[in-house]
Structures are given as structure tokens and as C-alpha cells.
């Protein structure tokens, strides 16, 4: 049981490190680029901005969750 927990923890730590690298790249490549466009949208078309905001956060949730889950599964398979 203890051995199993230690293994899960190790896999999780590796997952966290890889995920952090992905997310850092995402900050600078995607979010930074979106900044100005979203700012203009918020100033000029509030309703459209509201819709885009919900779509962005929902889309990111689904995609990042899928990435994190697959990454975790993959690492567990490799570690076994």
C-alpha cells in the first residue's frame, strides 16, 4: 500500500513538472498574444466579449483536463 502511494506520488510529481512546462509555454505563446485582442473586444463589444470569455474558459477547461488526464495515464503506464 505504502509502495503504491509512493509510486503514485512520484508519477504525480513528474506529471506536475511536465504540465508546468506546457502551461508556461501556453502563458507566453497563447495568453500573451490574446491580451490585446481581448482588451479591445472588452472595450468595444461587451456582449461578444462575454460570450468569448465563457467559450475560452470552458474550452481551456476541457482541453487542459484532457491533457492532464492523458499525461497522468501515460506516465503511469511508462512507470509500471
Amino acid at each position: 500500500m505504502k509502495k503504491h502511494s509512493a509510486k503514485s506520488l512520484r508519477v504525480f510529481a513528474i506529471e506536475l513538472a511536465i504540465y508546468a512546462a506546457f502551461v508556461t509555454a501556453y502563458f507566453f505563446l497563447v495568453l500573451h498574444a490574446l491580451g490585446n485582442w481581448l482588451y479591445r473586444l472588452e472595450m468595444q463589444h461587451r456582449v461578444l466579449y462575454a460570450v468569448v470569455a465563457i467559450l475560452l474558459i470552458a474550452g481551456q477547461a476541457v482541453v487542459l483536463d484532457a491533457v492532464a488526464t492523458r499525461l497522468f495515464r501515460f506516465l503511469r503506464r511508462v512507470w509500471r
Binding site: Y26, F27, L31, L38, R46, V47, Y49, I57, Q60, D65
Partner: protein, 304 residues
Amino acid sequence: MFFPISHSDINPFYLAVVGFLIGILVGFFGVGGSFIAGPALRLMGVDWNYAVGTDLAHIVGKSIVAARQHRTLGNVDLKLGMIMALGTIAGAEGGAQLIQVLKRAGNVNTVVSWVAIVVYMSISVFMLWESQKTLRLQKGRSHKTAESKQDHSAFGPVTKKIQRMKIWPMISLPTSGIEKISLWTILLVALIGGFFSGFLGGGAGYIRMPSMVYVLGIPTHLAVGTDLFEIVISASYGTFTHAIKGNVDILIALVMHTGAVIGAQIGAVATQYFAGPKIRLAFVPLPLIGVAIVVYTLLTGHKF
């Protein structure tokens, strides 16, 4: 990193770490963690109206992930969630309108801070009292093993009385094990939760989750999952209405959410290892952390 919409300069890694910690709370307690997220944004100098709206947007993403996890674990009562979403949306609009009034009056930061302090402290004190009483009651019982993970509440007799109130229409919630309850009771609980969601930000799970357990009598595990499911709908509406009013910085929400994804996975799995009263007892110090941050921002001029 500069966030032009809310005119704030915040380290994105700070936001991701805050998101990660809140993600754990979401998965484990079923609450959005706005009692931490809102104050954490205030700590960085973000105005309350932006903290409230942005936290709502952030919560949409977190709740989608966590609700899916809970649905897989069988912790969601869909019928209850859909009914509650209606009441919450109405309440959230009321809360958002009040924020607008305060914004125009120029005292949104002070008023929301004080309301947050009172609400968060009340929740902690109540949950401490209730969960300790319940755990003492459980210890006194002779039945052990089989019942050890069953959900009990010291508020049980009051819950039963509320369930017996016959205000038409009465509905049944088979998934939650409730034979009959007034539709209006559910809507009222949702309306109050929705109001706090629109006013203090987040999904207001800190109000709704305890209300679902103590007032409606929903088992804690189901209350956690159903609350998350309902938050997806109501927080989306809250985000929309706050964004139209110019209170949402979606970039901050997106950055915070990147950390929440991993945190939510850990939290959801952890609920399987604890019984209801223990989950509630562990919840007690969390709103107090939010109180400490709000008091700090009030004393020091709202900036870390």
C-alpha cells in the same frame, strides 16, 4: 505580466499557484474556493468588482472539470442540480446588480470586504459547531464498522422538519434519497446562494453546500457533486452578466485556471477516503484564511 482589462500587474505563476490550491478545494469540498480566490486577487490590488467577476469566470472552468469527475463517481443529482440552477441564476443577477450600485457609489471595495468577513466567519463558526457535534454523536453510537462512512448531521431534526413542510408543489429526489420536499425550499436555498455568488464571487458553494446538507438534507458527497454541476450553469450566467458590466478580466481567469486543473483532480479523488462530518470539519479553517487576507487588505490599503 500586465493584465490590461483590469489594469493590474500580477505574476502569472502566483495566479497559477492560487488556482492550484483552489482546485484542490473544488474537488474535495465542492466549493469554488472564492473565499480564497477573491481575497487573493484583492491582495494583488485587483478591485473587488473585477475580483468577483473574474473569479466567477475562473470557476466555470474549474467546475466543468470537477463536476465531470464527480459525475463519474456518481456524486451528482441531475434533477436537483437543474432546479437549483434556476434559483441561483436569479440570485446571481441580484448580487451583480448590487455590485453595480456599489461601484457607482464608489464604495464597492469597503462594503464587499466587510460582507465577506462576516459571511466567511459565520460559515466557519457554524460548520465547526455542527461537525464537532456530529462527530461526538457518532462516537457515542454503538454501531461501528458498517456505518462509519455513512453521513450524519447534528442538524438532522431541523432538516426533517423542513422536508415535512408542505408547500405545493412537492417533488421527490430519488438520487438524493428524499421522498418529498417543497420546490420552493430548494429554490430559496438556490436564490440565497446565487445572490452571494453574484455579490461575493465564485459559486458561493460555501453557502450552498452547507445549505444543501443541513436544510435540504442531501448527503454530503452528493451535495458536493451536485453543487459543482449547478455551479457550471449558474457561474456561466454570472460570468456573462458581470462581463457585460465590465467586471471580468478573462486573462486572469485563464491563467488561474491552468493551476486549478491539476488541483481539482487530486481533490475529487480525496473525497472517497473521508466521511461527511470529517470533510465538513476540514472545511472550517478555509473561510478564515479568506477573512485574514481581507482584513489584511483593509488594514494595508488593499495591496500586498
